[in-house]
């Protein structure tokens, strides 16, 4: 006989944990994730820092000068230190030693860039994930004496917490939009075409070229297609405000319910895929590129090696 569980205020009794739980990835899957994540952290490290100093200090720039990063020799030396830390991290050993280096060298240049009076939001997600991983591995190093070789469970939970941090960034932006507009964001979104026109004008004045005209290859073809379609879309949405609200509002809904991605492997794949598509469309239409969000979604949600394995085993099963 199945007894009905009694309600309890203890979080462990809430059934949510049945839905939102870590996936027990295989060691090789997590190795691939760590290697790919290390590559992304390396890609985010700038080749050049064109800022002489912080004009309006934010974050760690409030407590330490960061202008030294603009010296090319120092920056190149930092890159080698970062490479050493990334190799350690990817190996899965001494992660509590590698992550503070990775966190500092990810956060410091981006903080300097964001301390010029203009905020860009493409690197925050990476900074938050690195920071989260640093906190987690440091905690495990002290709490479970896993300094040299963190255990399998520590790595599994590291992936789970990284996924939660990524989801949190989407939840934050959705909650902020609703809060800022007193829940009127979707109503106001009929003015979205104004932003499209602004983006098109700003893009033109960057290089004195119209969007899509400078690209080549198949990606250039897609860019050129979006560049042709955007003015039509602009006029169409302007003429149909309710349709505009429905289309733009769907983006807000996607962000607000991003936590549904954490239900299972398939949910991660499906929701991660939808968020990637969302970023790709915004990138082409609004010239607002969040490539690091896309990379992290590919690594931690879509999990391409697992998709590849699943397809291969499905083909094998059909042949037998």
């Amino acid at each position: 006989m199945i007894s009905t569980p009694k309600f309890s205020w203890r979080p462990s009794a809430w059934r949510l944990q049945r839905w939102f739980r870590p996936i027990h990835y295989r060691p090789w899957e997590m190795l691939v994730m760590r290697v790919l994540f290390a590559v992304v952290v390396f890609m985010a490290f700038p080749k050049q820092v064109p800022f002489a100093g912080a004009k309006y200090e934010i974050g760690i720039a409030r407590v330490m000068p960061l202008g030294w990063l603009s010296d090319q020799g120092t920056l190149d030396a930092c890159r080698w230190v970062l490479i050493a830390a990334l190799c350690l991290y990817a190996s899965g050993r001494l992660t509590a030693l590698a992550l503070p280096v990775m966190a500092f060298l990810t956060i410091a240049p981006a903080t300097l860039a964001n301390s010029q009076g203009a905020f860009h939001h493409h690197l925050q997600v990476l900074g938050l994930v690195v920071l989260g991983q640093w906190i987690w591995f440091t905690y495990r190093a002290f709490a479970s004496k896993e300094f040299l070789t963190p255990g399998h469970r520590t790595h599994v939970l590291n992936v789970f917490y990284s996924q939660q941090v990524i989801v949190a960034t989407y939840l934050t932006t959705a909650v902020w939009k609703l809060w800022k507009t007193k829940f009127g964001w979707i109503r106001e979104s009929k003015y979205f075409p104004v932003q499209l026109a602004k983006t098109r004008d700003a893009h033109y004045y960057n290089k004195l070229e119209h969007a899509g005209s400078e690209s080549s290859g198949w990606i250039g073809g897609i860019d050129a297609w979006f560049a042709r379609v955007t003015p039509i879309l602009e006029s169409f949405l302007f003429a149909h405000p309710n349709l505009c609200r429905a289309i733009i509002g769907s983006g807000l809904v996607l962000e607000l319910f991003a936590f549904l991605a954490l239900i299972g492997r398939r949910s991660r794949l499906l929701y991660g895929g939808m968020l990637i598509l969302f970023h790709l469309i915004i990138g082409r239409v609004m010239n607002l590129n969040f490539e690091y969000n896309i990379f992290l979604l590919l690594i931690f949600f879509v999990n391409l090696p697992w998709v590849g394995m699943a397809i291969c085993s499905s083909i094998k099963r059909r042949r037998l």
């Binding site: 860009h120 700003a202 290089k207």
Partner: protein, 154 residues
């Protein structure tokens, strides 16, 4: 997840934390700024300096907020940023161009000097009866900085 969300919403813009305010609200008015040469002809600012027009707009916006605060502290009433006059916006425009001179990629500052004195234009973009209306106005003009790295001479 909820903890990170709460921290981001409270801390706001302190990298790596952010409340991600991109497109936080919409209205029937927006604006952009662009950089032009001494004759008022636009220059390809990203190709020359690696800085995008969108970044210049954000920097101009930040400076404009500071100017507005100063004006309001001095007793000047301003209904909204879109109603500020060119004269009121000028200090913000000058600071934006000065920032551009000193924050360009390698070789960018030398190229900018060839176009100097640089001008900053402001385009009002608003919804009118027949679609979008654009109105451009000159905000600031700043000569090239002195060779010794000093501030541009006014």
């Amino acid at each position: 997840m909820l903890l990170v969300t709460a921290v981001c919403l409270v801390v706001k813009e302190e990298f790596p934390f952010s409340h991600f305010p991109m497109y936080e609200s919409f209205s029937d008015y927006s604006f952009i700024v662009y950089v032009a040469d001494r004759d008022g002809e636009p220059i390809p600012v990203q190709a020359i300096t690696s800085q995008k027009t969108s970044k210049l707009k954000k920097i101009f916006n930040k400076e404009q907020k500071l100017v507005r605060k100063q004006l309001e502290a001095a007793g000047v009433e301003i209904d909204g940023y879109q109603f500020m006059t060119s004269e009121q916006r000028r200090p913000a425009g000058e600071r934006t161009l000065e920032w551009l001179y000193s924050n360009s990629k390698e070789g960018g500052a030398e190229q900018l000097v060839k176009h100097a004195p640089l001008r900053l234009y402001y385009i009002h973009l608003r919804v009118g009866d027949d679609g979008f209306e654009r109105k451009s106005e000159l905000i600031a003009e700043v000569p090239a900085p002195k060779a010794d790295g000093g501030q541009p001479s006014k």
